[in-house]
């Protein structure tokens, strides 16, 4: 009897101690030898498996850069496709290390979920797509329309806010998966398809006749899309943040995947600090000197990432230009 109780207490304690052990994301990634990255279930330009099953897209490139910086190999990424609904739970529970899944940075998500947004990888805004034959020129003419969209996204809230503030009526038809939204819109269930404008451009390619549809000029919301990590692990948060900044700074300084090796010998001190040939910035975030150089060699700078992934969708850089070219992208200095 007593022995039973003792065994029970010991077992309970053991479980409690294991669970209480604090998670160090960087150590876990190094130990596993692989970065677990949460991505979408297929959004061309952002995260989408190609015909060989390899993941491509700007969100995927960020994961590759992060893996190259930490593990020295951009291939050491395990991609976990997640629906909009389960993405935050997957990160909270530790199933993934980083969530890079065209996710909008909002107040509630940043503060209420125990997660931190690393920065902005793509400045987006919500738009509307309609059939050309409806002859609609502005979103203000959409009163009474049926609107197809995804569940569990900021999109659903924005569209409600927009129609409410403009005194327009509408019916929302919300699906779990993006492919079902496209199929239902194509079948004529809705007059309007709404999501982020980048998403509209990407999903449009899946329609039977993409040319028969038009994206309306209105942008009804701000959608800064960026990667997230768990709150409370500042070391990994810093790494994730500065890998993103390194990709932006590389564009600003003209460092590309092709010339990163040669640029190490550059005379520009900021380039030398970024690539690790001068000083040791890497040590401050728990990495070696050449962390950023590896990341840039793996995926290129931001301009290369954009050109490879987003430009084919027909989306001009717009606000996603560097601040020095009149855009919004701005990295704090490497110093």
């Amino acid at each position: 009897m007593k022995r039973l109780i003792t065994v029970g207490i010991a077992a309970g304690l053991a479980v409690a101690v294991t669970a209480a052990a604090k998670a160090d994301t960087l150590e876990n990634i190094k130990k596993a030898g692989v970065l677990k990255c949460g991505v979408s279930q297929g959004l061309p330009g952002f995260s989408n498996p190609d015909n060989k099953g390899a993941w491509t897209g700007i969100d995927v490139d960020y994961c590759k850069a992060l893996a190259a910086a930490i593990l020295g190999d951009a291939k050491k990424v395990k991609y976990v496709p997640l629906s909009a609904k389960v993405r935050f739970t997957a990160l909270q529970s530790g199933e993934i290390d980083v969530l890079s899944r065209n996710t909008t940075w909002t107040f509630t998500r940043d503060t209420g979920l125990g997660l931190n947004f690393v920065g902005v990888l793509y400045y987006d805004g919500q738009g509307f797509m309609v059939r050309k034959k409806l002859g609609v020129k502005s979103a203000k003419q959409l009163s009474g329309a049926a609107v197809c969209t995804n569940t569990g996204t900021t999109t659903e809230l924005n569209v409600s806010d927009y129609f409410r503030s403009n005194g327009l009526k509408y019916k929302v038809v919300a699906f779990e998966k993006a492919d079902e939204v496209v199929a239902a819109y194509d079948a004529g269930r809705c007059d309007v398809y709404t999501t982020d404008r980048s998403g509209l451009a990407a999903q449009r390619t899946k329609l039977k006749n993409p040319a028969a549809h038009v994206v309306l000029p209105e942008i009804i919301s701000k959608e800064p899309l960026g990667p997230l990590v768990r709150q409370g692990d500042d070391k990994f948060f810093n790494i994730a943040k500065w890998v993103l900044n390194a990709l932006l700074t590389a564009e600003e300084l003209g460092v590309t995947s092709g010339n990163a090796g040669a640029m190490m010998k550059s005379k520009n001190p900021e380039i030398r600090r970024l690539l690790g040939s001068e000083g040791n910035l890497g040590a401050k975030i728990g990495l070696d000197k050449e962390w950023a150089a590896r990341a840039i060699k793996a995926v290129g700078n931001y301009a290369e990432m954009y050109k490879r992934n987003v430009t084919p969708l027909g989306l001009a850089r717009g606000v996603n230009k560097l601040w020095s070219n009149g855009g919004l992208l701005y990295s704090p200095p490497f110093r």
Partner: protein, 400 residues
């Protein structure tokens, strides 16, 4: 005594922990304590971890504004309603699809089940093909199939199929006139209620009389007259006295879509068809097994007494078969209710779609929302099986 076996004297009292009664009590207490401890540990661990990571918890969110719209709400709902209302709207939508689905699946299942036993080769083969096809295709595929089968052939709102300018069908839904009642309807309603009550009493009386004398009374005919005929008569009468007791709101094409009237959305139709057709295949098998469980001698005995085939089925076979059918039927009703959560794939706003989907994502309160949803499904299932068990006990063979 000679062989050493004590006969009359009580054996020496064992030490208390060797007493089987005490021992079983102690083991049960330990097991209970262990379950409570593990449960407490899990809850406490979750709460403290959530607090440490800065994840909001608690049920305050239920009174926050939801901010999104829902396509089908049977209670007043708008984007300014709370998450509590979202929960209610989702729950009602789930109950609606489950209730209507159960009715259709049962009717279809009984017909197919009886058809499978038909002596007509064509009918029984068709029933077999139906059962084997629909119960062997994954339900999700069937739901998606029916959804696109419903949507594809239907025209857009501007080319709606039009029935007498009153009913419209297009790929946005089925638009029916919305009945509105006024005061003149009151007498009609009173007569209707009286008709229903009267029919129930008539049925009781005729049963008693049949048990006593064996005489049959045409209850159905008189019941139909009392429930449908009399109110219709009063309806016409009231129309002459004080104008029509009912007014219909008819849907009208305004801009992109129809406004007004009553709308049945295609998502509901597709989900209803898929769930009913799928579950009916299982119910048909339950019905078949129930009927086959009744000894064929019963049929022969009835025929020997000169009872015709239809009353034999209705009065002798089915009542006995029900005892076998009901427990299986309960399972299928529970399955149908739980399967309705696949609604989210075709945008039908059930509890899982609007509450465990959208609300969870907007608030991030996964633990609370998932727990509430699980509790609701558990409650629905327990209530369903309680009702079915009660019915089963009522119709089961009473042995004297």
């Amino acid at each position: 005594m000679a062989n050493g076996i004590p006969t009359g004297a009580t054996p020496a009292r064992a030490v208390w922990w060797r007493d089987p009664r005490w021992r079983s009590l102690i083991y049960q207490a330990i097991a209970l304590a262990a379950v409570v401890a593990v449960g407490w540990y899990l809850v406490d661990n979750t709460l403290s971890n959530m607090e440490r990571r800065g994840i909001t918890s608690g049920f305050d969110f239920l009174s926050n504004t939801a901010g999104f719209d829902i396509i089908q709400a049977l209670v007043p709902y708008s984007a300014t309603s709370t998450y509590g209302s979202v929960f209610l709207v989702g729950l009602i939508n789930t109950l609606l699809i489950a209730a209507v689905g159960v009715v259709f699946a049962t009717m279809l299942g009984f017909i197919i089940g009886v058809a499978r036993l038909s002596s007509n080769w064509l009918i029984s083969t068709l029933a077999t093909i139906y059962i084997e096809t629909f119960r062997n295709i994954p339900l999700l595929l069937q739901i998606l199939f029916w959804y696109h089968a419903v949507l594809k052939p239907l025209p857009g709102p501007r080319e709606s199929i039009n029935f007498l300018d009153v009913i419209f069908v297009n790929n946005r839904g089925l638009y029916l006139p919305l009945p509105g009642f006024n005061q003149a309807f009151l007498p009609v309603f009173v007569v209707l209620v009286a008709g229903i009550v009267g029919t129930i009493m008539l049925r009781r009386w005729s049963r008693k009389r049949q048990a006593a004398t064996g005489q049959l009374f045409p209850v159905v005919r008189w019941g139909l007259f009392a429930i449908l005929g009399l109110p219709a008569l009063v309806f016409v009468l009231m129309s002459f006295i004080s104008g029509p007791p009912m007014e219909f709101g008819i849907a009208k094409l305004t801009g992109f879509n129809f406004e007004g009237g009553m709308v049945v959305i295609p998502e509901f139709v597709a989900l209803l068809v898929a769930l009913s057709v799928y579950t009916a295949a299982f119910i048909a098998e339950a019905v078949r097994s129930g009927i086959q469980a009744v000894s064929h001698g019963q049929t022969e005995a009835a025929y020997a007494l000169g009872v015709r085939p239809a009353p034999t089925m209705k009065l002798i076979i089915i009542p006995q078969a029900m005892r076998v059918i009901i427990p299986q039927l309960t399972n299928q009703y529970l399955n149908l209710t739980k399967n309705s959560s696949l609604a989210v794939f075709i945008a039908y706003p059930d509890l899982v779609a609007v509450f465990m989907g959208t609300s969870l994502n907007q608030t991030g309160q996964a633990v609370e929302i998932v727990a509430m949803t699980m509790a609701i499904y558990l409650t629905i299932s327990l209530v369903t099986s309680a009702v079915m068990n009660w019915y089963n006990a009522r119709i089961s063979l009473v042995e004297r």
